[in-house]
């Protein structure tokens, strides 16, 4: 029997109590410990290095402690990646049958087309591993570890444009204003480290498709649970560097001065909020050394660079995957990567192999590397985008055809803590247009992710606008077939 969580009330004072619990256990002062071996400090993190979340205990035993979400922005074509449709070859160029299309809406980009011509995939597929997972041939590295992953072929959603669709995956609703998955997890489970944010976002890939900060926003949850996007230019964490003329030692001296004065004020006015401020300055100071140390890939051995295909100093999905592993090691709770470039309205034939090549090796490397370090069991990996793509081509069928948005069915895969590897779950029809078996709604996927983390998605709630809000809105059922 689990204890229901009392919803925290929003408002200026809502987060006082958990913080006070923490503060009661920390001692003030910026001593030598802060300056000394930071990484070591974190790895041997004493319980006092945790900031508890809204949940005092998980609802069920947690299988995973942390999440790496590899978001494939733009909407990868399921028909060309994980859900082959061999029967389409014979129908290539024909009109999509009306009974298959049904009455669903399609976007204005193709709605005015005279024809909706079936376009067979230009990709070749093969079976891999002991499990016989089917992948296109442009993911040879992932193929080697495909027994680790559970593929969902029957994911479905409603929004048909990028922005609401990404929002749906991240926050459980197409409209803006709600917290994203990472924020819920950070709020619910709290922090595992004292020198790094709980929830980090990294971006890579072609820049055509904007990735806006709302996708990793904390919505109505306290904004400390917002994703911190590490910048690819300048300071990785905004304003991390001291101004010229102030070195690390001077900064330490000044922060000590600030906190001495803050402590004096605390004596006079007694506001516990000042203790939290003192703590924030100390953590900021620790981040000034721990973040650059973590971002610096040059110390990684050669075989690791070879494994991932990383080049220190470059902005790439590969580098971000390696950074994700380093963050996980340091106790970051939720790492969200966005890899752009999947919005293939044209030229799937040439773009898909390139795009697959960009993500294949680093993704497989991440799985291998985590496994080898004994971290895969406690880390949940999610791979997927905001929707799939249409069976029919956009415009006329030609060699360089592309596909339009299609939320009625698409793919994702999961791996790591709590996941049963080697599974392919759900099925679409011969056209790859409709789900015909074991449909998995986005809310179901979210419920499953929360389940792996030990959270009952119906019980992690926050009262806002009179409602007990949750990630899965009003839906969501855990998918047991995906669980180990």
């Amino acid at each position: 029997m689990t204890t229901p969580v009392l919803p925290l009330r929003p408002g200026p004072l809502a987060q006082v109590s958990p913080r006070r619990q923490f503060l009661a256990r920390t001692s003030g002062g910026l001593g030598a410990a802060a300056l000394a071996g930071l990484l070591q400090d974190q790895l041997q993190a004493a319980p006092s290095h945790r900031r508890p979340g809204a949940l005092s205990a998980t609802h069920i035993p947690a299988r995973a402690k942390r999440v790496i979400y590899l978001f494939m922005a733009g909407g990868p074509s399921h028909i060309d990646t994980f859900d082959p449709k061999p029967k389409l070859a014979a129908l290539n160029g024909q009109e999509l049958p009306a009974e298959v299309r049904g009455k669903q809406r399609i976007t204005l980009m193709t709605r005015k087309q005279k024809q909706l011509q079936i376009a067979a995939s230009p990709m070749t597929f093969r079976k891999y591993g002991e499990s016989g997972q089917v992948l296109n041939v442009h993911m040879p590295e992932l193929a080697k570890v495909c027994d680790e992953i559970a593929i969902v072929r029957s994911l479905h959603s409603e929004p048909i444009n990028h922005d609401p669709a990404v929002n749906m995956l991240q926050t459980g609703a197409g409209r803006p204003g709600r917290p994203c998955m990472g924020s819920w997890v950070s709020w619910g489970l709290g922090s595992e480290n004292r020198s790094m944010p709980d929830f980090v976002v990294l971006l890579s890939g072609t820049k055509g498709q904007p990735v806006i900060s709302r996708y990793y926003h904390s919505g109505f949850l306290p904004s400390r649970h917002q994703g911190v996007q590490f910048q690819s230019q300048g300071d990785p964490v905004l304003f991390l560097s001291n101004p010229g003329g102030i070195d690390g030692r001077t900064r330490g001296r000044l922060i000590r001065g600030i906190n001495d004065l803050n402590r004096r004020r605390l004596e006079l006015v007694g506001d516990p909020e000042i203790e939290a401020r003192i703590d924030s300055f100390e953590l900021a100071y620790r981040m000034q050394s721990s973040v650059p140390e973590m971002m610096d890939l040059s110390g990684e051995p050669k075989h690791v660079h070879e494994l991932y295909g990383t080049q220190p100093g470059k902005v790439s999905f590969a580098n971000n995957c390696l950074l994700a592993r380093r963050m996980i090691e340091r106790g970051v709770r939720f790492v969200q990567l966005y890899q752009r470039g999947w919005d293939m309205h044209s030229d799937i034939k040439n773009r898909m192999p390139k795009q697959c090549a960009e993500v294949d090796r680093p993704t497989a490397a991440l799985l291998r590397d985590l496994k080898q370090r004994g971290l895969l069991d406690e880390t949940l990996i999610i791979w997927g985008g905001e929707f799939g793509r249409t069976t029919y081509c956009q415009g006329e069928l030609k060699a360089t055809f592309g596909r339009d948005h299609h939320p009625r069915c698409f793919n994702a895969w999961l791996a790591g803590g709590g996941i049963r590897g080697g599974v392919t779950h759900g099925a679409t029809d011969d056209f790859g247009y409709n789900v015909v078996e074991n449909p998995v709604h986005v809310h179901d996927l979210q419920a499953t992710v929360m389940h792996c983390l030990g959270i009952d998605h119906e019980q992690l709630v926050y009262r806002f606008q009179g409602r007990d809000q949750r990630l899965t809105d009003i839906g969501g059922q855990v998918v047991p077939e995906l669980l180990a």
């Binding site: 200026p12 048909i160 910048q231 690819s232 230019q233 000044l254 909020e273 953590l283």
Partner: protein, 858 residues
Amino acid sequence: MTRAAAMAVLMSLGVLPAAEKLPEKAKVDFSRAIRPLLANKCLKCHGPGQQQRASELRLDLRKSAIGTAIVPGRPDQSELVKRITSKDPQKRMPPPESKLELTDPEIALLKAWISDGADYTVHWSFVPPVRPEPPQVAGSGWILSTIDRFVLSRIERAGLKPSPSADRESLIRRLTLDLTGLPPTGSEIDRFLSDKSLRAYERLVDRLLSSQHYGERMAQTWLDLARFGDTNGYENDSERSMWLYRDWVINAFNTNMPFDRFALEQLAGDLLPHASTSQQIASGFNRNTTYNEEGGSDPEEFQVVYAVERASTTGTVFLGLTLGCAQCHEHKYDPISQEEFYSFYAFFNSVDGEKGAQGHDIPLPPLLVLSTPQQKAESQQLVKDLETLEKNIAAEVAKVKLPQLALRTTPPKPTGKDHDGYFGNQSAWETHAKEHLLSKLPKAVQNALKVEPGDRDAKQKTTLANHFIRFGYSPARKIFTPLNKRHKTLTDRQGKLKTLTPSTMVMKEMPKRRPAFLLLRGDFQQKGAEVEPNVPAIFKALPEGAPRNRLGLARWLIDPEHPLTARVVVNRLWTQFFGAGLVRTPEDFGVRGEFPTHPGLLDWLAVEFMRIGWNVKALQKQIVMSATYRQASRYDQAIGRRDPYNRLLTRQNRFRLSAESIRDTALAVSGLLDDRIGGPSVYPFQPDGYYSDKGRWKWPQSTGRDLYRRGLYTFWRRTTTYPSFQIFDAPTRELCTVQRPRTNTPLQALVTLNERTFVQAAHALAARVLRGADNSDTLRLDRAFRIVVGRRPDKSEQKILGGILESQLKHYRRDTKAAQALVAQGSVDSKGLDPAALAAWTSLANVLLNLDETITRE
């Protein structure tokens, strides 16, 4: 469990909103205790929500509940009590799978309420407020205003005492920050401290209420509600021009426009008879909706989205209700049906000229284009000048006689003189033009050129010949070059003037209303019954003959008999001065919202507000003149444990400043602040490449004084908010925000420590102190500290400050390179100042700007 014990337990859990002693026989208050309980635990299935209702039983309606489920006076015979106490999981309510549970005290309370007769009363906020009699209190010596009676009465009932008044330095800083968003200057503090008259405080209040910065402070909060932004939101997030609306809000507050007028002009300014320019600008409130530009978006879908958003925002801002919940289904808790939601929505779905979706960077009609008198005059002059010039050119063209044979000659090789596109004959020019100029030529000329010379009609021939004479005929070059040049100057200026002329998005009603439908599950493709614009039935109906449009709606909202508008507004005004409202859920006055901490005071303020003609400044003056407001904010641990959220108001609240105010404070104390009011939004320092990961936008960084404007003028990109504001909890303003959270994070520390504006402010403050009249470091430290936090440091603070300064002087005297590097980042003139000293003082100023006290209003 006795009822008093039950209530006490629930109060301690925060379920019941009280912390006062209860008489053993107290009657259970339905509105306060039972309705929230039912709403939280029962109404999901036994409430107004049709789709989810599991049975016919409705516990929100007395007529449905009374009978079998509830037998008034007889809890033992009531099915409800049997069910909530049943051990049988099949019968138990709430059912175990709902994961809702009633606690023992809650069960005791329900029983007590049924014993009392199970009275149902209308939810408190749906009943118009009546001016209550202020309560009698014992400690009348503390009382300064009627407000204090309400507050003290509750404090006394809890057996506590209010806090003493804050000292004068705290009071002036608190008041100045609350009313202007800026800290007081040293001389303002001196003047107040030396004013020994009884009216000193009131004079201070009056001065601040008439400050021009008052309007800026008020606007900042209103712009969150109005979800004002400089971009369209959604993925592409193009820019829009809306700053005239922002300036209208500032001006409305500064001129103390009565709130009913303020509401009316924003909701329906365009519909007022002979709507003035200003009233039309005000109507932009409803155009602050975000706008989707994504390719392939369905215009109809988004027209619906915008109207839904307007209806929800109006509901939140003026009614304090979550109307938007009824977009997809009946409201689960409040008596708002889905049909009523769409009837409300119907007021907002007929915007003339607004498209649902279109491409990027396109102005979004309906627009109001405005020019200054000078711009208007210049524009008219330009039209006249161009007319004269064109006549002149035409006359010159007519004078030129082209050699007839020229057409037949083969194109000569361009001679030196002709290299730049001038030719002796038309045919040579035509060949050249076709190859090199085609896309640059006027459309008519292009079209004529494409026709074979023999096939051209007379008009085409003239067009071509005239163009050739003006731009390509060498013999006439001398005549036309200056004329063409002048023509270009004039047309360029005309284009420039257009970009200089501000425009703003406004509301405009279609001549004939667009039909509105109930949308099943909120889906624009699933139209239900057609609906007429109307207000929810729980409220008084629209008056007979009132227009069924936004004007009628606005007048209905500001009707003094409306139960919500005034309450919702005074609650927000109260928040401005205490950091929390009397209703702690200012966005929800519905059944699931919190009960007011001081219901009598809320109603008294609401009625008073309407009595004095919705006079915002006058009401605010009453609040800040109270002893309640003037209390010290010192936190007492013992009372804090008893009343952790200070619901009893036994002290003032101490809270962090807003994002904008933190910036403004640093700029103000350092002397960098440019306090000009209004105008287009500006682009202060933002880290290079901040957008590069995210979108295609540019950040055209401002120059000069514009870098140091107040925060509310910072360009507001909705999907990617100005970073140092976002870190300090500023909302994106994609949607209406009633209350900003106030968090405390290490990322915030990094902003005030390292962000360029704050570093420059530290440098400027250092220079300011070093150039001051003080002749010792002790005096300078005192002065710097006082400039920033508004009081003198005490002995122990002086010691800490002295220690920091000493260490920094030592450091920068030794490391002159570091000193130079730090000083080089300043923006104010530091000629003649010793770089080591300036660097040391800059780092000291950096300490001061980072103090908790500096970014806190106490």
